[in-house]
Symmetry: C2
Subunit: 370 residues, 2 copies
C-alpha cells in the first residue's frame, strides 16, 4: 500500500489535453494514478457484483466505488476497519471512492426526516432507526478508508418543488462545510457535491456556495434521478461549465454508453453506475453494434463472439450460443461473463474517448460512434 505523506486535501490532478470541453487528465491517489475520463464500476457492498478484483484489473478498472450506507449496516464500519480498511477487506489495491450515503438515505424508502442538524431514517436492512449527520458520515468514510470520499448531501427526487430544491441546495452546502471541518485524514480527497435538480439558477447557486469552501474535487449529484434525459444533459453541461478547470469533476450515477460520451463531451472526468452489471444480470450486453438481449432465441445457434470488437475473456472464449444457454438456464457463470464484458465495454469506451481527446479528434469520435 502506497500511502503518500503530507498530502494536502487536494490530490494532484493534471489535465493533459482538452478537445472542446472534453478533457483527458490524471488524478493521483495514494493507491495509484487514475486516468480520466474514467468509468468507475460500482461495488456497493465492497464487491462489484459477480466480479473479483482480478477480473476488474483485467477489465482495466482504475478507480472503483463502494457505498458507505450499505457498509455501515453490513458488515459495519468497525469490521471493515478491523480488517485493515476497505482496500484490504475487499482485496482491491487500486483507488476506491466511497459515496457518503446521502443518496441512499434520501432515496431508499420514504423514511428520511431532516431534523436537528442531521437526518433520521430507517435501515433498509431491518427497519431500525438511525441518525446520520455530516460529521458522522465523514467519520464513517474515514473508518472505511477509501481514497476519495464524498460530502453528505441531500439528494432530491426529480419533480421536487422549487422551495424544497432551494432549501436542499442551501443545506447541502452547509453540510459540506461541516463535512470539511470534520474531515481529518489527509490521505483522502473529500469532494463537494453540487445539487439543484434541473433548475439552472439553483445549480449556479449551489456551485457558488460549494466553490467558496474550496474542495479538491466537485461532484454533480441529484441528476439521473428520474428526470428527462435532455434536462439531465442541460443541467450537467451548465454545471460542469461553472466548475474550476483544475479540479476533477465527477458525475454521479451515469453509465450507459451514450450518456457516458455526452458527459465526457461536457467536461466530466469521472462517472459511476450500476447499469452495466445490473443489465448483465438481466441478460443484456452492450456491444459495439448496440445492445443485445441474450435471451433472444436468435442467438441460440450463433457461434460468433458477443462483441467482435471486444477482447475481454467472455468475447475471446465463448460464443453467443453458449452465453445465451447460460443466461436462459440462470447459470451464475452467465451473469459473471456478461458483467465482465459490460464493465470492460464501458472502461474501453472511456479509454477510447481519452485517446481521442489526446489526439484532438474527440468530436469525430463522438460523431462516428454515437
Amino acid at each position: 500500500m502506497k500511502i503518500m505523506d503530507s498530502l494536502s486535501k487536494d490530490f494532484p490532478f493534471t489535465v493533459e489535453a482538452a478537445d472542446g470541453a472534453a478533457r483527458a487528465g490524471v488524478l493521483q491517489t495514494p493507491h495509484g494514478a487514475v486516468e480520466t475520463p474514467c468509468f468507475m464500476p460500482v461495488g456497493t457492498r465492497a464487491t462489484v457484483k459477480t466480479l473479483s478484483p482480478r477480473d476488474l484489473s483485467e477489465a482495466g478498472a482504475g478507480m472503483i466505488l463502494a457505498n458507505a450506507y450499505h457498509l455501515y449496516f453490513r458488515p459495519g464500519a468497525g469490521i471493515v476497519a478491523a480488517a485493515g480498511g476497505l482496500h484490504r477487506f475487499m482485496g482491491w489495491d487500486g483507488p476506491i471512492l466511497t459515496d457518503s450515503g446521502g443518496f441512499q438515505v434520501f432515496s431508499l424508502g420514504d423514511t428520511a426526516r431532516v431534523t436537528g442538524g442531521g437526518v433520521g431514517f430507517r435501515s433498509l436492512y431491518d427497519g431500525s432507526g438511525h441518525f446520520f449527520t455530516p460529521e458522522a458520515a465523514t467519520k464513517l468514510q474515514e473508518e472505511l478508508g477509501a481514497d476519495v470520499i464524498m460530502c453528505f448531501d441531500e439528494c432530491v427526487p426529480a419533480g421536487a418543488e422549487r422551495a424544497y430544491l432551494e432549501e436542499s441546495v442551501r443545506r447541502t452546502a452547509e453540510w459540506a462545510g461541516r463535512c470539511q471541518a470534520a474531515h481529518s485524514r489527509d490521505d483522502q480527497l473529500l469532494m463537494g457535491i453540487i445539487q439543484g435538480g434541473v433548475d439552472l439558477e439553483l445549480r449556479r447557486q449551489s456551485v457558488e456556495l460549494t466553490l467558496e469552501l474550496d474542495f479538491g474535487g466537485y461532484a454533480i449529484g441529484g441528476l439521473s434521478v428520474g428526470e428527462e434525459r435532455p434536462r439531465t444533459l442541460e443541467a450537467m453541461e451548465f454545471t460542469a461549465s461553472l466548475l474550476p478547470a483544475g479540479k476533477p469533476r465527477y458525475f454521479m450515477g451515469l453509465g450507459d454508453p451514450e450518456g457516458l460520451v455526452d458527459a465526457i463531451a461536457a467536461g466530466i472526468d469521472m462517472f459511476d453506475c450500476v447499469l452495466p452489471t445490473r443489465a448483465a444480470r438481466n441478460g443484456r450486453a452492450y456491444t459495439s453494434a448496440g445492445r443485445l438481449n441474450l435471451r433472444n432465441a436468435v442467438f441460440a445457434r450463433d457461434r460468433g463472439p458477443l462483441d467482435p470488437g471486444c477482447d475481454c475473456y467472455a468475447c475471446r472464449t465463448f460464443s453467443r450460443a453458449y452465453l445465451r444457454h447460460l443466461v436462459t438456464q440462470k447459470e451464475i457463470l452467465g451473469l459473471q461473463l456478461l458483467s465482465l464484458h459490460n464493465v470492460t465495454f464501458l472502461l474501453n469506451l472511456a479509454q477510447q474517448a481519452r485517446a481521442a481527446i489526446k489526439n484532438g479528434r474527440f468530436h469525430s469520435f463522438r460523431d462516428r460512434e454515437f
Copy 2:
C-alpha cells in the same frame, strides 16, 4: 483440438504405482492425459456452477463432467453439435465425461416407465413426454462429443426390493450391450456401469455380465443414492476388487473428502460429485482443519485465510471476514470464491493421495489426514 487417429475403444491407461488396493495411473484421452486418482468437477449444464474454464484450469482440474440428460433438453444436442461439440461450446479444451442420463431419468421425479426396449419419462423442464433407449442415449453422447461416455443404465433407489434390483442388473447389462453396438465414434471411450445396489451377490453378477462385454473402463453406479455409508463402502470395495486392474474404475457420485479417500483406498480411479459446488453455494467450505460454515458469526472479524493450507485465489487473497460478508449478503462473488476453493481442495486432495501412492505411503497419508 488433438484428435487421435485410429484409437481403439480403449484409451491407453497405465497404472504407474499401487499401494494396497490404491493406485496411481494415467488415462490418455483425445484432449490430454488425466492423472488418476482424479476428482471430476461436475458441469451438469455444460458449466461447473460459478466457475469459468480458466478457474477450473487454475484449480488443477483434469477431466470434468457434463450431463447428457440436461443438455438434451437445454440447449439441445443439435445446438451443442452445431457449436462444434461440447468442448468448443463450453470453452473447455481438456477431457470431458458425459453421464448418459440413466441416473436422471430414473431419479428425477417419479415418471420413468421401462417399456418396449427403453424408458418413457417426463422432462424435468416442461413435463413433456420423452422416450430414451440405450441406442438413443449413445447417439446423444456421440453428438455432444465428450471423450468418455457412459452406458445408459437403470439406477435403482436405495431400499429397492431384490427382485427389482435383480431385474435392473440384467437390464443394465443388456442395455450395455446395445450401447456398445450403437457406439460408432472411436475417439470416445464408452464405459460400462455396474449396478446391484448394496447386494454383493448382485454386484458380482453385474460385474460378470458387464465384463463379458469387455469395456474400456468400468463405473460403479447405483451407490450413494440414500443407503447408509458403511453399506456404500462395502459394496464399493467388493465391486472394485472384482474389476480388471488394467482398466480405469469410476465411482459415480462421491465427492466428500472422507469418501474420496475411502474410494481411493478401494482402488477407484475417478470420482465426481456436485457436493463441493453445492456446499459452496450454501456457504460451506472444506478445509484442512475440517468443514466451516461461513455464515457463522465467529468469522465476522477473522482476518485469516479460509484455509491456511490452500493456495487457491480465494485463500491467497481474501479473509474469512470478507468471505463471510459476501456469503451473508448473498453476493455472487462469495459463491464463486467458495466454489473455487472447494473444488481446488478436492482436486488437491486427490493429487496428494496420488503422490502418497507413488511414494508408497498412502496408508500413513490416510491415517494422518482422516
